[in-house]
């Protein structure tokens, strides 16, 4: 049995610290909320000029947006600080992790938590609820299961992206910009219908980083919509497989990165 006390102790202190600087925290919350709202407004703006995007109407796109945004912001809340690894590497604070009797990656993940992302998750929840209300969802036990599966797998997939990005920092110098393109680009891609993507995007965000599986494919399956030609029916159910693939990719990258850092040969 893994002893969780060390991780809990660190996380509790992070939560306390964020609550201590109350004004700062409120400011963070509201700016986070504002960004979320602006991005939601963007969806609405697009649909002022078109009726359908990649076979999805406004209602369906709101649902995709809500699903993607909720999963991403919850993953961001718990894993988003992994991209501070370059700072740790430069300051040498990563060495401190080596001197503690816990696995490095778990220490990094539990070294912080960004409660301000809750505001962003609230936007996601609102969009998700609105999306579910606006669509003619064929409610059934299966539909609920699909939604739950999509959210849980989505969080796991986005979390894996953050871990992948952290692992890649070990051999990229100042690589945060490069990995951000995939992490935040992936988030953006996830909130759009994958049917409008160009072929390279489908390859990168459809399969390599399985962003299409976090929101678009589950929504297509849920609403029984015709998907793009490259996709067989019911692909939305494969979201957990995508999450597992994303974690395999993330952990391999992390492991290789750590080996590189320690100089044990990649």
């Amino acid at each position: 049995m893994v002893d969780l006390t060390p991780y809990r102790a660190v996380l509790a202190s992070r939560v306390r610290a964020q609550r201590t600087y109350r004004a700062n925290f409120l400011l963070d919350l509201s700016s986070s909320l504002l960004v979320g709202l602006v991005e939601l407004a963007e969806v609405w703006v697009v649909f002022r000029s078109v009726d359908s995007l990649g076979g999805l109407d406004l209602a369906a796109v709101v649902l995709v947006f809500g699903l993607a945004d909720l999963s991403f912001s919850l993953a961001d809340l718990a894993f988003g600080h992994c991209d501070t690894l370059p700072t740790y590497l430069r300051a040498g604070t990563l060495d401190v992790f080596y001197l503690r009797p816990q696995p490095l990656l778990l220490q990094l993940i539990t070294s912080d938590i960004s409660l301000r992302r809750l505001a962003r998750a609230a936007v996601g929840v609102a969009a998700l609820v609105a999306g579910l209300a606006m669509n003619d969802v064929p409610w059934s036990a299966g539909a609920v299961a699909l939604l739950v599966l999509a959210v849980v797998s989505g969080i796991a997939t986005f979390a894996a992206m953050f871990v992948w990005a952290a692992g890649a920092q070990f051999y990229l110098v100042d690589g945060a910009e490069a990995t951000n393109a995939f992490v935040y680009g992936g988030r953006y891609a996830a909130s759009q219908p994958a049917s409008v993507w160009s072929r390279p995007l489908v390859v990168v965000f459809g399969f390599f980083f399985p962003m299409a599986f976090t929101a678009y494919l589950p929504v297509v399956t849920l609403l029984g919509l015709p998907g793009p030609d490259w996709m067989p029916d019911g692909l939305g159910w494969c979201a957990p497989l995508a999450a597992i693939w994303a974690w395999a990719l993330a952990l391999t990258t992390w492991r290789t990165g750590v080996r590189h850092y320690q100089g044990g040969g990649g």
Binding site: T20, T93, V96, R100, Q262, G264
Partner: protein, 318 residues
């Protein structure tokens, strides 16, 4: 035969660095063979770039050695890192393991959880460290508001909270004032006496070496060039001390005082510097010889610092 805490055999580490378009290999540690027994206090000195930090990282499992073998507390540092972490404490003079926005007390509490100390063990050890390192007055202060001296004491408490068998200190007294250095050294001496802790420190401060260490390792280009006592090191390189005297009136160069070497005069002979070997004569004898010659206003005895000794050793090798 005491327990062995550190044992290395032809330990070495190279780094591949990019030099323009080409890659070349830099040898940080060439071939280090050393054995440190339980309870020893070892000063690890050498110029910057002599491979001290790299060695420490290999001893603690942060870096994988390129060649040779290493065992710390009987464990292989890289594969056994997590078990080793429970037996080793490291103080980095330049980086912190405390949480900058938390009070010292909270940082210690978190570290106790990280090292899975029981409630009683945690309280006893915390009380002991708070008392002996005099942390009481700033226990509730966030780390970012501490002075350097206070922070270093808190860092030492953090690194020693889990009562490690081996404590490695990387430049622990750098930037500290005389009083803070003194307190820290006294604490480390007492810690070693009370708990039999093995100390290993890298330093540029001769005071650290003199007051804390009974053995010196001197590294040059990643190899050990001296292993012995400070007295032994001084004998090897000639630890000439310098007596600086300020005189009441300008005096001709005092170049014929027995057992001394006249090193220079300033202010027309108002201040003169005389070198002497402490194994041959003493400062008191030199002063006695001077007393008939001129009226002394002030005096100081200068000892060679670590850099000077290191420089002399390196010079003798080249």
């Amino acid at each position: 035969m005491t327990d062995t805490i550190v044992e290395t055999e032809a330990l070495g580490r190279d780094f591949r660095v990019r030099d323009g378009l080409r890659r070349r290999t830099v040898v940080a540690v060439e071939e280090l063979t050393v054995r440190i027994g339980a309870g020893e206090a070892v000063g690890y000195i050498g110029a910057n770039g002599a491979g001290k930090s790299t060695t420490i990282k290999m001893l603690t499992g942060i870096l994988v050695p390129t060649r040779g073998s290493v065992r710390t507390c009987g464990l292989q540092p890289v594969p056994d890192r997590k078990r080793l972490a429970r037996q080793v404490g490291v103080v980095f003079g330049q980086r912190t393991q405390l949480w900058w926005d938390l009070p010292v007390r909270d940082s210690l509490r978190i570290l106790a959880a990280i090292h899975s100390l029981g409630t009683t063990a945690e309280r006893e050890r915390t009380d002991e460290l708070v008392e002996r390192l005099e942390l009481g007055e700033f226990l509730g202060t966030p780390v970012r508001q501490l002075s350097l001296g206070q922070r270093m004491r808190a860092e030492v408490a953090a690194a020693l909270l889990h009562s490690p068998r081996l404590v490695i200190l990387d430049e622990p007294t750098i930037g500290l004032d005389v009083l803070s250095k003194q307190r820290l050294r006294e604490f480390l001496v007492a810690e070693r006496r009370l708990h039999g802790t093995t100390l290993m420190l890298t330093t540029h401060d001769m005071g650290d070496v003199e007051r804390l260490c009974d053995r010196i390792l001197l590294a040059d280009r990643g190899s050990l060039v001296f292993d012995g006592t400070l007295a032994g090191l001084s004998r090897t390189v000639g630890a000439e001390r310098v007596l600086v005297v300020d005189l009441a009136e300008p005096t001709p160069d005092l170049d014929d005082v027995p057992d001394t070497r006249h090193l220079g005069s300033e202010g027309g002979g108002l201040r003169q510097r005389l070198g002497f070997d402490p194994d041959v004569t003493t400062a008191a004898r030199v002063l006695a010889a001077l007393s008939g010659r001129a009226e002394l206003v002030d005096l100081a005895v200068e000892e060679p610092d670590v850099e000077e000794i290191v420089r002399r050793v390196y010079a003798a090798r080249r």
